[in-house]
Point group: C2
Chain length 118, copies 2
Amino acid sequence: MSAEIDSTNDDAARATRLLGELRASIDNYDAAIMYLLAERFRATERVGHLKAEHKLPPADPSRERQQIERLRTLAKDAKFNPDFAEKFLNFIIKEVIRHHEAVASGNSNAGFVTSSQG
Amino acid sequence: MSAEIDSTNDDAARATRLLGELRASIDNYDAAIMYLLAERFRATERVGHLKAEHKLPPADPSRERQQIERLRTLAKDAKFNPDFAEKFLNFIIKEVIRHHEAVASGNSNAGFVTSSQG
């Protein structure tokens, strides 16, 4: 009986340790993704200003279709769920369009990124 | 007048070229982010199975608060909008919890990733 309890405790301790290790990896991936997203949106921000300057529409459905198709293909290569990849890109695009519209209407507080002086 | 048209055309050509360059960078960032997300969810998937095995709840509010605070701090360091960073993490966490619940209820088609045999 005591051996059984020990084995259960061992099992729980192993699970807790493994959970901690997995969470440490997740935190590292999230940090890497966050810094890449910051650069991604730095480019997006320049696109927004370029579109506003040249009176181009904030959304571009044919570009979006290409992005979605490409990301679904990359997701399959990464053995990642392509539906989730598409959902992720749609979330990003929705935010980007909201941002482009704010830039076009002259809202300077809409920024994804701050300038290096900020 | 002709010079003015030329200058407008030059300007439009420059904008088109710059837009193309920015989009090429965005596509590269998206690919890098997609592959990192795939690894992030590979770890998440293992967390989901571990939680299901050990009957741990799919959501963990104190862990989520820590993740959000940490990502907001990292976002500021990257000169990135911390509110958007939080929105992004909330989107990811919502998907993850949905996934953990599906795993716990025995739905094997809920996977973010496919095994290397798949």
